[in-house]
């Protein structure tokens, strides 16, 4: 039933979702690049899991933005970030991952509608919309390609002038990036910062295209910067960085309070600066408060995207700002989170970077599976040899376990994005042994009970009682190991621990819901209950020879008639309780036992023990 349900789910997933019938493979099997990042706190302090989660969110945004599909970014072992990129990502993508997120506060110089400027001048068209990920590199390129001399002198006060100017030279000449003045009056000085190149870039930028809203590396701190609003609502030319993100102490979202302390019923984001940031913020707000829109806005830039551009109405001297607007609970919380991320005092150190070729990975997988199948075959042969037909129960249980495990892994890789790695495969192969052990423990217990003279039905029940304890205890230990490894380990160890823990659970499920019911059923069949020699449960082979009392005064004597009662008692060990001396028989037995010292000692000491009241009423002397 469980199996059917499992596979029905997967099938349904394949049919109507994007589930596959095979589990996803991790990088070491599929090929790709894996980067392990270790956060390094920039100031003394702890890297909390919050910090890590925010960092992961930012890295994910960047990687997704760069167009790499199915990147897997996880935190492992508490404080590490593992970025797994399939295939062969280019250097630019890798750089995106390696650099840490940058938040900065810049004054807004020009605000515009998100579509490209409608001016039909050739420069706007000649400059392609910032391609792919970044606005910043485009800026940098223009910077490097030092502007032609005829542009340098051009007055670049307003947008139209700049556009015209840029249109004048040949199409291949980059617009000037030289400022019109020698020095800026203030960070909000449009005349200084908005050069023709910046203006051209601004005009060309189309923020309605998702490709242009993917973020990227931040622009140079002392230059103007063109950026989109993160939702594509607007585009901006921004002044130089005035306050770095590290100066944010904290941000939170909540209900706004009016001056009298009454809730305004509006969601706001509260922002607090550090002692270093407070004077800077005071300075900025002092300047901006006197300006008109759009110059009275400052933009919060995260990864080259403007996440918020609030306008300043008052001078804020104490470093505690409140951003209000049309926030919902959700958007306020998001913004607060993003602002907090700007306050992340961490950078990342690349701990390892590995590229795994797909060919090598698939070869390892193929050989690994081959080894696993071969191992499984050996196990099957051995258990058939040891347990005869009962071995088939082992094999069937192993198969069920394998199918369930496969199903669960496939399901998890669909629902949770789990990926099977090479250590994971190793874990599965190791699990064969541990799973089979549960059956072996069970069967051995049944055999033990048979040896005690029980019928198969009773032996299965009693053996199950005892085996269950053992199986539960040992699986608990195994599961503990898996969980500890999973929580504490990084990379491959995790994959291994995962499959180990999973198969331990599957083992329990299979033993409880498949093997035991199957055994109970089998115990009712004549083949097993009568102890057919090939059944593996033949009481004769298990040492239960001779007669067995089957109730109502009847005695079964499989194979032969009960031995004569005249059989001489076999030599006994002289163990007795409370005897002050040995009986003659005991002395003789002792002598014999001493003679046969090298031979294995014999069984069944004869005494009136407290525990061994004969229950099965065997005829005397029948003890072989």
């Amino acid at each position: 039933m469980v199996v059917v349900a499992l596979f029905a789910t997967i099938l349904a997933g394949t049919r109507w979702g994007d589930a596959a019938l095979t589990p996803n493979l991790a990088l070491d099997l599929e090929g790709g690049t894996q980067i392990v990042l270790q956060p390094v706190p920039e100031v003394a302090g702890q890297v909390t899991s919050d910090t890590i989660n925010q960092a992961i969110a930012v890295i994910r945004q960047r990687v997704d933005a760069s167009g790499v599909a199915e990147a897997e970014i996880t935190s492992q072992g508490g404080d590490k970030i593992v970025v797994a990129l399939p295939g062969r990502p280019d250097e630019a993508t890798l750089d995106l991952v390696r650099t840490s997120a940058q938040m900065e506060f810049r004054p807004v110089l020009v605000e515009g509608s998100p579509t490209p400027a409608t001016a039909t001048d050739p420069s706007a068209e000649a400059t392609p919309p910032a391609d792919g990920a970044t606005a910043a590199p485009a800026d940098g390129t223009a910077d490097d390609a030092a502007a032609p001399a005829d542009d340098a002198a051009a007055p670049a006060d307003d947008a139209a002038a700049a556009a015209d100017d840029a249109a004048a030279p040949a199409a291949d000449a980059a617009p000037s990036d030289e400022p019109a003045k020698a020095a800026p009056d203030s960070p909000s000085d449009i005349a200084y910062y908005v050069t023709p190149a910046v203006q051209a870039q601004f005009d060309a930028l189309d923020c309605t295209l998702p490709a242009n809203r993917t973020g990227g590396a931040p622009g140079p701190a002392d230059k103007a910067f063109v950026a989109c609003e993160q939702e594509g609502q607007a585009k901006y030319i921004l002044g130089p960085v005035e306050i770095p993100g590290a100066d944010i102490k904290s941000a939170s979202s909540g209900m706004g309070m009016s001056q009298s302390g009454v809730s305004t019923g509006q969601w706001v984001v509260n922002l607090e600066f550090t002692s270093a940031g407070t004077p800077k913020f005071t300075e900025v707000t002092t300047r901006l408060a006197g300006q008109t829109r759009p110059l009275n806005q400052f933009a919060v830039v995260l990864d080259a995207l403007v996440i918020s551009a609030p306008s300043v109405s008052n001078v804020i001297p104490d470093g505690k700002a409140e951003i209000s607007g049309t926030f919902t609970r959700q958007t306020a919380a998001t913004l607060a989170n993003q602002l907090n991320f700007g306050a992340l005092p961490v950078s990342f150190e690349v701990q390892s970077e590995q590229q795994i070729s797909a060919t090598l990975g698939s070869e390892q997988l193929e050989k690994g599976l081959l080894a696993g199948i071969f191992g499984l075959l050996l196990v099957v042969v051995y258990s058939l040899f040891q347990y005869r037909t009962l071995g088939l129960v082992t094999v069937a249980s192993l198969l069920v376990a394998a199918v369930v495990t496969y199903g669960v892994i496939t399901l998890l890789s669909w629902l949770q994005g789990y990926r099977l790695s090479l250590p994971g495969v190793a874990g599965l192969i190791v699990a064969i042994g541990i799973t089979a052990d549960s059956f072996i423990v069970y069967f051995e217990r049944i055999r033990d009970e048979l040896r005690d003279g029980r019928t198969l039905g009773a032996a299965v029940d009693k053996g199950w009682d005892r085996a269950r304890r053992t199986i539960l205890a040992s699986d608990a230990v195994n599961f503990t190991a898996a969980i500890v490894l999973y929580l504490l380990a990084v990379g491959g160890v995790r994959g291994f621990a995962f499959t180990l823990g999973l198969t331990t659970l599957v083992d329990l499920v299979v033993v409880f819901l498949f093997t035991h019911p199957l055994m109970t059923l089998l115990a009712r069949t004549r083949f097993f209950a009568d102890g057919h020699p090939a059944s593996g449960l033949d009481p004769r082979r298990l040492g239960v020879d001779g007669a067995r009392y089957v109730g109502r005064g009847r005695v079964t004597t499989p194979g032969q008639r009960a031995k004569g009662t005249a059989d001489a008692p076999t030599p006994r060990e002289p163990v007795s309780v409370g005897a002050t001396g040995m009986t003659i028989a005991e002395r003789r037995a002792a002598a014999r036992a001493a003679e046969a010292a090298s031979a294995p000692p014999q069984d069944d000491p004869p005494t009136a023990g407290t525990t061994d009241a004969p229950v099965d009423g065997r005829p005397e002397g029948s003890d072989r």
């Binding site: 590995q354 070729s357 390892q364 190793a426 192969i429 072996i440 304890r469 990084v490 180990l500 006994r572």
Partner: protein, 367 residues
């Protein structure tokens, strides 16, 4: 042969045939001590051979090569970085792995290009990796933390389950024994220690404890009433348990070792250096030693510990005294009783239904 094996199992169960495992524990302790010592020596010299994950450095893998000429690879690397002495090994059927010390980004690019032309492969078939020196240290750090947390957890679980800390203590001692010997053998073979190896070592923790728990469960079952009877000593009861689980232990280890062995063979002879091979070796040795230790080390240790307990000591003395004919009252003080050489060891479990005829009937002593 199977029938022979089954018969052997029966005899072990009934006690007709018995191996005095607990009684000869000094022998096993001695063997283990020697093994542990040898392993300790092996750990110092030659010592473990750290893989690139623990040394730090750059690694290149060229796959799909037509020639696995290692000198060609070395020459290529040295053309870029003359002072390097790269380690080259074959991975899989047609791949070369070249490990160097840490190279600069430029050098990495040059080496990649060099390898591409030297082995005449496309760019897709040369991969590079870089491992910072702190990575491996971190992995081992985590492994050790994991080890400690695991041990604490397991000790608690076992103490609660068996209601006796001695079993947990014995299991943990056996565990250390397994780990040291496994690591020692790994050092002796000289394969590189990679994170995969560490995974293997950590798994042995689980397996060793698992195996010990199964044996201890039987010991617990057999000895639960050990002090309420005077037929067997505690040690003899425990020994019977070990003998009774012997067949299980053998079957389990064979079944567990077969798949691991097949990975080991495939890994070592077909794939060459790599995750599978490293894990498989660690597991193979560890499982083997683990099975040995749960039979020959853990249970005897547990008995040794238990025999230090006063009730058990007194009980043992009483049983032995009774057996050798000394009155029970003489031995009540728990003084060790010299056991006569002729006193046989009691091994058997009682068989319900066994009837001894007249000899078991009370008879009048005519003396």
């Amino acid at each position: 042969m199977a029938s022979g094996f089954a018969q052997w199992g029966n005899d072990l169960y009934t006690g007709r045939r018995s191996y005095d495992i607990v009684g000869r524990r000094r022998v096993w302790y001695a063997i283990s001590a020697v093994l542990v010592l040898i392993s300790a020596v092996l750990l110092v010299k030659p010592g473990l051979n750290p893989g690139i994950e623990f040394r730090g450095g750059s690694e290149f893998v060229v796959s799909g090569v037509s020639t696995t000429d290692q000198q060609l690879a070395i020459d290529t690397v040295q053309a870029v970085a003359p002072s390097e002495s790269p380690r080259v090994s074959t991975v899989g059927g047609s791949s070369l792995r070249i490990q160097t010390a840490e190279l600069t980004n430029d050098q990495v690019e040059q080496v990649k290009t060099g390898l591409m032309t030297a082995f005449d492969v496309t760019q897709d078939e040369v991969t590079s990796a870089f491992v910072g020196p702190s990575w491996g240290k971190d992995v081992s750090q985590k492994a050790i933390t994991g080890l400690i947390v695991f041990l604490v957890f397991v000790s608690i679980v076992m103490t609660v389950y068996f209601r006796n800390w001695r079993m947990a203590a014995a299991a943990l001692l056996a565990l250390f024994h397994d780990l040291i010997i496994t690591v020692g053998i790994y050092a002796a073979i000289g394969w590189e220690v990679t994170p995969a190896t560490v995974i293997g070592f950590l798994t042995i923790l689980g397996y060793s404890i698992y195996d010990t728990v199964v044996v201890f469960d039987k010991v617990r079952e057999n000895t639960s009433d050990a002090l309420d009877q005077s037929r067997f000593t505690y040690a003899e009861k425990a020994n019977l348990a070990v003998n009774q689980t012997l067949v299980r232990s053998i079957n389990t280890s064979v079944v567990a070792l077969l798949p691991v062995a097949s990975i080991l063979v495939v890994g070592a002879f077909i794939l060459g250096a790599g995750t599978l091979r490293d894990i498989a070796l660690a597991l193979f040795v560890g499982m083997f030693v683990g099975t040995f230790s749960s039979i020959f080390i853990a249970t005897p240790l547990e008995v040794t510990l238990r025999e230090r307990e006063k009730p058990v000591r007194q009980h043992t003395a009483k049983v032995l005294a009774v057996r050798s004919g000394v009155t029970a009252t003489d031995a009540q003080d728990g003084a060790p009783v010299a056991v006569g050489a002729g006193t046989p060891r009691a091994t058997a479990a009682l068989r319900p239904g066994g009837h001894l005829g007249q000899s078991a009937q009370p008879k009048r002593k005519k003396r």
